[in-house]
Subunit: 126 residues, 2 copies
């Protein structure tokens, strides 16, 4: 039984955000238009939440294998925006009960949580 | 108060999956290598879960505006793999209680749910 998820990191560049917008069909200007984004409550460009959230799936796959995410359940909250050139890292620790859940967090380079929550991999025997 | 999230759809092509793998730094062969994927329990290539999940964020932004996702909470489950060339659609309906939650689902072109759960947008007054 794995008590820790294998941590994984990603640098969130503007190039990555631009490409992500194109691939996902998500042209929300808060991710792409610095002048627009500066006028919102966000005060500047933020990355797509699922761009960072993918690191949780990567951490599950790195820990349990490539099909660990199928059937998985997750409960997460976006607690802080991810900014251009942030380096975000996903990690997780198995809860000390019978739930099969891992408490997970994605933190930025300052150690601040940006996404928090839990996942339950749907993998036999973990 | 919006009772329905604005539905959004995306076709999940192999080109999109390949580009998504590169952008997210997620080279899991279950998304990229048909021969490998065929030998797994998945029986073939599946798309990254967060590629489809992004549609829920898009639906929130389409409904409430570009910064609707910051501070949002979501609880979702991957119930069925998304396959190459599936067309997936996210939609949602506000729960008839005081929770502020929307029950959401992403369905494929056959109407089968692939992701189900709820979201709570962190937007004042919704």
């Amino acid at each position: 039984m794995q008590t820790e998820l294998t941590p994984v990191s990603l640098k969130i560049t503007q190039d990555r955000i631009n490409a992500y917008a194109e691939i996902t069909g998500d042209p929300n200007p808060i991710h792409l238009d610095a002048a627009f984004a500066a006028r919102t409550e966000m005060g500047g460009i933020i990355a797509h939440g699922t761009l960072s959230m993918n690191l949780i799936l990567r951490a599950m796959a790195a820990t349990f294998g490539p099909d660990a995410c199928d059937g998985a359940e997750m409960d997460i909250r976006f607690v802080k925006p991810v900014r251009v050139d942030d380096v975000v890292t996903a990690s997780g620790t198995r809860d000390q009960d019978e739930s099969g859940r891992y408490t997970v967090q994605i933190t930025n380079q300052a150690g601040e949580p940006v996404i928090v929550g839990w996942v339950r991999p749907a993998v036999a025997g973990v």
